[in-house]
Amino acid sequence: MDDLYRAISDPTRRAILDELVERDGQTLFELCGRLTMKHGIGSSRQAISQHLEVLESAGLVIAKREGRCKFHWFNGEPLRAIAERWPAKR
């Protein structure tokens, strides 16, 4: 669980998730382009790659290879645990 809270504590990582929700299955290149142009996040590809690793270890992003390219997919399943722990209505 700690991985999950740490993963969503960072604004750049939240922006990555926003972009994947908008269009799932992106390469690192596409994600970096969107973060720069839409969010004004000028981090290096290397930095974004490290953010993706954090999101992957929390299970929020799944990286899959198709041919020679690597694509990143959003997985919202781990977030369910948050809503179950602190339900909106009891």
Binding site: Q26, T27, F29, E30, M37, R45, G67, R68
Partner: protein
Amino acid sequence: MRISGCSVMVDDQAKALEFYTKVLGFQTKHNIDLGEHSWITVVSPEDPDGAVVGLEPDVHPAAKTFKAAMVEDGIPFTSFAVDDIEAEHKRLESLGVRFTQPPVDHGTVVTAVLDDTCGNLIQIAQEKGQS
């Protein structure tokens, strides 16, 4: 000094010439047999005296490693300009071209990324405000 052209490193020159002419729609400018490989360049039919793209064999040992790393991260190393990216995307997809990024609007430019089947990703870009 002017820019006369640049190169893409391809894994198969014959296949590359087929793709860059028949699919992308460029014209052959040079095709000179040099023995094991050829000197091949293509130009845009919209600008036949303009910059050429050389289709160079990726025989250097470092080339394949470099190309694989670029492709893994979805990075296009070469970019071509188009007037209507949506139309090109549709046309190329109907020819079986695989896009790793469909057209994405970046404000002043719309870009898409395609697989050249020779080990490279190519960006196509439409500048906005262009008819």
